[in-house]
């Protein structure tokens, strides 16, 4: 169990993590989601007592990290795959970690085997590919057989097979009753792995809910209609009290909250020809983007648009949001 209480981190004038409070519970995979620069890595570094919080606290099983006597036996983390000495072999990199926490040397071979690096155990880690480095970092996290595991963007640089492997690994670890906390900026990835979601944007908590709840709240379903008699169709819907949004370029209409059958029958009764009648479901990725839209920091700008704010230090106020104009999002879902 990890508990954050009003955790805040400022770098100079910039607030990277803003008053975060949440708990990460055992037995499930908790996804930690946020766009680039949202503060995920900073939060994780504070959890491991690497960065000093400006204020607030983190507790691991009720204790401060620094007070854990052999921390690798409580919590294992993959932060940055390259956080090893490249001139040392994979085996020796893990051996010095194991020794510091009195983990038997035999465990080093076990975890190397587990991540599939046995064949290169004696090779210097600087020659490793991104994926191999990631696996070595995961091996380091598993070294102390800890009850809590933390992975910062573990699928980075992994091939599809590797991604599948780590997904199953995380689910397996959670299935054994461990606490698994994994960050990502890809909702689609989280949808496949996480049971619980914590979403942050610009360091602030945006949502803390189960995956199922998130899907329920955020996956908007609607029906798309196209007709050569669009004006008539619009009038008809209006007369029936059904709200329809016209899409600017395609000439299609989108209707929320009315079943496609009902719409089809309605059009037929009034003799309106339909070229399209299709139920749609907004992806979770879109839901995530809507949720974090006004807190996205590193935003792409259309070429030719004023460059203000590109590259980061711009505050939220002058950053034009993608979802601007979209109706209220379920911000602050708890």
């Amino acid at each position: 169990m990890i508990e954050l209480e009003a955790l805040t981190k400022r770098f100079g004038a910039k607030t990277a993590v803003d008053n975060l409070s949440f708990q990460v519970k055992p037995g499930v995979v908790t996804g930690f989601l946020g766009p680039n620069g949202a503060g995920k890595s900073t939060t994780m570094r504070m959890m491991l007592d690497l960065d000093n919080p400006t204020s607030g606290t983190v507790r691991i099983d009720g204790k401060h990290y620094r007070d854990l006597s052999e921390p690798l036996k409580h919590i294992g983390a993959l932060l940055d795959a390259k956080a090893m000495h490249g001139g040392r072999s994979a085996y020796n990199n893990l051996l010095c970690l194991a020794q510091s926490n009195r983990i038997p040397a035999s465990r080093v071979g076990e975890v190397l085997d587990l991540v599939g690096l046995t064949a290169v155990a004696k090779k210097k880690s600087k020659g490793f590919s991104l994926g191999m480095g990631q696996r070595l970092g995961i091996a380091a996290a598993l070294l102390g057989d800890p009850e809590i595991l933390m992975f910062d963007e573990p699928v980075n640089g992994l091939d599809p097979e590797g991604i599948l492997w780590i997904r199953n690994l995380m689910k397996g670890l959670a299935g054994e009753g461990r606490t698994v906390f994994v960050s990502s900026h890809l909702m689609s990835e989280m949808a496949l792995t996480a049971d619980h979601l914590i979403v942050i944007g610009q360091g602030k908590l945006l949502a803390d809910m189960s995956m199922a709840e998130f899907i329920h709240q955020n996956s908007r379903s609607f029906v798309r209609l196209r007709s050569p008699q669009q004006e008539q169709l619009k009038d008809l819907l209006h007369a029936e009290g059904i709200a329809a949004a016209a899409l600017p370029d395609s000439g299609a209409l989108e209707v929320d909250g009315v079943a496609s059958e009902q719409l089809g029958e309605l059009a037929a009764r009034h003799g309106i020809v339909l070229h399209e009648l299709s139920p749609q479901r907004a992806s979770l990725e879109e839901a995530f983007m809507r949720m974090t839209a006004d807190s996205v920091e590193y935003q792409a700008h259309a070429p030719g648009a004023p460059a203000a704010g590109v590259g980061g230090q711009a505050g939220p106020a002058d950053a034009p949001a993608w979802g601007a104009g979209a109706e209220a999002t379920s911000k602050g879902g708890r």
Binding site: R45, R66, L72, L79, A83
Partner: protein, 258 residues
Amino acid sequence: MSFPAVLRSEWTKIRTVASTVWTLAAAAVVTVGMSALLCVFLNSQFENMPKEQQLAFDPTASSFAGMSLGQAAVIVFGVLVVGTEYSTGMIRTSLAAVPRRGSFLAGKLLVATALALAVGLVTSFVSFFTGQALLGEHSIGIGEPNVLRAVFGAGLYMAVIALFAMGLTMVLRSSMLALGILLPFVFLLSPILGSVDATQKVAYFFPNVAGSRIMQTVPAVLDGSEPPYGPWGGFGIMAAWAALAVVAGYAVLRKRDA
């Protein structure tokens, strides 16, 4: 946190990278080799030296004179032991494993300093006996006054200069920066300031200048300028510098984000 476990871990770290072996081997080879060459030269040229130089001749110090260059490798060793933690990003992994900053720092410095001391002592003794063999009739025995102290002192010097380098690198958190300051300081600034009358008194208190006093058995009476401390006083000044660097390094490690 078990401190012996931290020591074992740091020992594994230090023995499993090539730079340790190379820098320490270079320190030994350069010191012994350069000293031997100098002793051969001094022995053959002794009769041609001016009288006052002959009188002030220090066979002990001459037999490890190569340490003035060999210390460069020891400095590089100290800088790399700490600096690679930062340049590789290993520091985060290390501190996640040993979150108590004091234990981490003490473990690392203890192991590396002990190793530098061991190599330094072997180097100074080998260098001394090789040098004396080559000095022929101008040589001195290890039993003569102050000689054993000087030979031991040369080994101690190696250990403390390494410790100073480690402390400073801990403050700067970068190998490049630390080497960029230490090497010009030892090889340019100290000799230049030390040779100008006006600044010599300042240079006396530089760690490397003060520390090297322990390797001499004959006072530099010739120019009448004698540093205001004895061999152990000089060594104490150097040790104080090293302690200061380590304390500052510890403060930085505690205060700053890893």
